[in-house]
Symmetry: C2
């Protein structure tokens, strides 16, 4: 144990911003299963994907072998606006809990998008610009991804069309204005602007929407408008690649002080933050160089890892996207409204799904009120108002630290604080007023989603 006094916040210098992203797949013995064409059941080719995604991003999506991707200079310059992000020693939280554990968090909320999403947004906008596109379409749940993409598109002067899950659109009206300030157009989803939106509205009038619906609409607009491509803020391999900057920075900062975490915790919706945070640590684990306890935390209302099936499924509700092999609740599963809009996706990154399946990480589900209790505790002592999504990780970190208090273990805990809750005050108000409720799907609810899992020709 080093005797050096660890600062409250460890900042790397700008020169220490990683110069390359790390591709976790290169070190996976069992690679994530390929995306499939839902019509043929065959792995999606680069050619098929390039109608939806930018070419360079297709290459990144399909590349299971290259360990490091150099970060283009324009992207590194953009990163310098808000990176390196601080790695914070939670001295005040430790004291409040009376735990011998040492708690660190990597804080990704120090930018206007309010979350880590900007790390991939700028990369995807950059490659779209490089390809000479006019614009991009996307979906957003909590609004963080949409805001991030709006910022990135504004910087690179690209058109940006965002479909925002209706429940979030209504809960977070101000998010829309941030996106508009950055020049984006924002449509609540499902909408009447797309064929798939009309179909979903006809079948489920009054639906509050889901990420799956919004993805379908954004993809439809991208493929039917020349000069446009679709971009996605989570789930995909390319996104985890870009988000590796989180883990690489966190590890570099810890290494500077000779600190090795015992437990690494991240919230999990589609997996972008978790996959990015754990990337270099998981790499060491896969290569047998080190061991870490890695914990994914998801909402009990949308428990893909803890109650889902590991199967091929559509990424979207409209069933127009490729099939991905992942832990899923079924693409027809629409979770009850909760306040962690960024964690309301029915599926999960194929990379993380494979790693979870192979026993390299654990998963837990947390209930909403317990999550907000953790958020409030954290806010009061650490000064940062956390996003509901991030607060899932806080909940687990506090639980682990309290276990250490019982056992006397001095574990080092690292968690990802993905963002801030400035646009989640409706949720905080419900919590402050004592009227927040928990939603847990019944086995029957889940069975419906599983029953609708696609039958893929030639695939179990």
């Amino acid at each position: 144990m080093s005797e050096t006094k660890i600062p409250y916040k460890i900042y790397l210098t700008e020169n220490e911003i990683p110069t390359a992203w790390y591709n976790l797949r290169a070190d996976m013995k069992v690679k994530p299963a390929p995306l499939l064409n839902p019509g043929t059941g065959k792995p999606l080719t680069a050619e098929e994907m390039s109608g939806i995604f930018c070419e360079e991003l297709v290459r990144q999506e399909l590349d299971n072998d290259t360990a490091y991707y150099p970060i283009p200079e324009d992207i590194r310059n953009f990163y310098k606006m808000y990176r390196p992000s601080p790695l914070v020693r939670a001295y005040c939280l430790e004291e409040k809990l009376g735990t011998p554990a040492k708690i660190y968090y990597k804080f990704e909320g120090n930018n206007t998008s309010g979350s880590h999403k900007l790390n991939s947004a700028v990369a995807q906008a950059y490659y779209a610009k490089q390809q000479g596109l006019k614009g991009v379409t996307t979906e957003t749940g909590a609004g963080q991804w949409g805001t991030a993409l709006s910022m990135a598109c504004s910087y690179f002067e690209l058109d940006c069309k965002v479909f925002m899950v209706k429940v979030s659109y209504e809960q977070k009206p101000f998010r829309r204005e941030v996106m508009r300030t950055y020049g984006a157009s924002v449509t609540p989803s499902p909408s009447m602007e797309t064929e798939i939106g009309k179909k979903i509205l006809a079948e489920h009038p009054g639906t509050t929407g889901s990420l799956g619906c919004a993805i379908s609409e954004a993809v439809e607009v991208a493929v039917t408008n020349p000069g446009y491509r679709y971009v996605l803020g989570s789930v995909l391999n390319q996104v985890l690649l870009h988000q590796s900057v989180i883990g690489l920075e966190a590890k570099a900062a810890l290494d500077k002080y000779g600190i090795k975490p015992d437990v690494i915790i991240g919230c999990a919706g589609g997996g972008s933050n978790l996959g990015g945070l754990i990337a270099p640590f998981m790499g060491e684990k896969l290569r047998g160089e080190a061991d870490y306890q890695i914990i994914a935390v998801e909402p009990a209302s949308c428990p893909s890892f803890t109650r889902g099936k590991f199967a091929y499924d559509f990424c979207d509700t409209g069933m127009i996207c490729p099939l991905a092999k992942m832990y899923t609740l079924g693409s027809s599963f629409i979770p009850s409204p909760n306040h962690a809009g960024g964690l309301r996706f029915h599926g999960m990154s194929t990379i993380l799904s494979q790693l979870y399946h192979d026993g390299y990480m654990e998963a837990r589900a947390a209930e909403q009120t317990a999550v907000f209790e953790a958020a409030e505790t954290f806010a009061r002592v650490e000064g940062i108002l956390p996003a509901p999504e991030s607060s899932h990780a806080i909940r687990a970190a506090i639980d682990e630290a309290l276990k250490c208090k019982e056992t006397g273990e001095e574990k080092t805990i690292l968690f990802g604080l993905t963002g801030t809750g400035y646009f989640d005050l409706t949720a905080y108000q419900q919590f402050n007023d004592g009227v927040m409720t928990d939603y847990i799907p019944t086995d029957e609810d889940l069975a419906k989603g599983f029953a609708a899992l696609p039958q893929v020709p030639g695939v179990e």
Copy 2:
């Protein structure tokens, strides 16, 4: 000119957080005029003040001589949660403007209160706790001060009662929830909870309130409840003392790279940010060691410096506070609603008023739509969504940089970016929709305020 490549963000280490605040008054040849007891017209004594303010803060308020006040360790530890704040080189803004000017901003919005207000809130809460008080009362305009104080009181386990200017309370409902999350109670002002509130409501039914009203209510509650004192987020000498941490850090960061600003710009409401930012620079100017062009920017709707009178006046609308000699529009002046709630105060710090009167600084007024144009430009290239208050400084910085573009001068401009605009999206929405208006008081409007200036026995 140094050849070193200046980073996008200059971060000091935690050890470089200033160990003492700087008291600008020590270097002023003409000291700011003392606060007066409105009944006797005599300078307020420490004894008289100690019924309203904490004892240590009274000492700081009255001390025109001590140049440096050591920062207590508990406060420095709190500062470590969010300080040092970054000094940012606005490379992207410079490029967008095509200016040869070099623009730097000291960003104080990287904390949950969203502004620099936390710097003084933690100090005031600390001294209240040291004195064994139960709690504190205050007013808040835009909500940033109230949020900051809530955070500080939560940290030191003090009760916190906030009167929030009604127009801001309505425009920023989520601010209330942040304060509640930190355990504070929040009341829209004017309210029926105080005698002065009832009186103001009777005289001005339907008023949207003002900082002056809210101050009166908060003071009334403090002086009528044992164990409580009143704390104020701006105007007072003690607040400028605490806020000197902004300027001291900014100067230390610039000095590291051998940079000397030519122009220093801050928005001015009560003067807390401006006074803090300029403190060490103004100190050099007062001692004849260096020269700087120092510019205060205020809203055209509340133009204390540019159209006010330098006279003794009440700090509050209810006329129960001491008299301060300052640039004022009259304590009865209630500015038209604008979106920079933090700049809607009728008066100004006595320190800054004296310095302005003595020719050490300039002042400008900016109209609201021009301010939001600057805010949007800044947000799109620098990535940070600025508070409307801060955007006044951005407006002037852009104007100065554009002048340099015309003349070819390579001036170095430093401005204070006091906070973020996450709770100002109603304002951004108006701007985005093209329905924002400008309000400029007529000479007749101002004449009414001046006519009501108090006649103080024995004072001109």
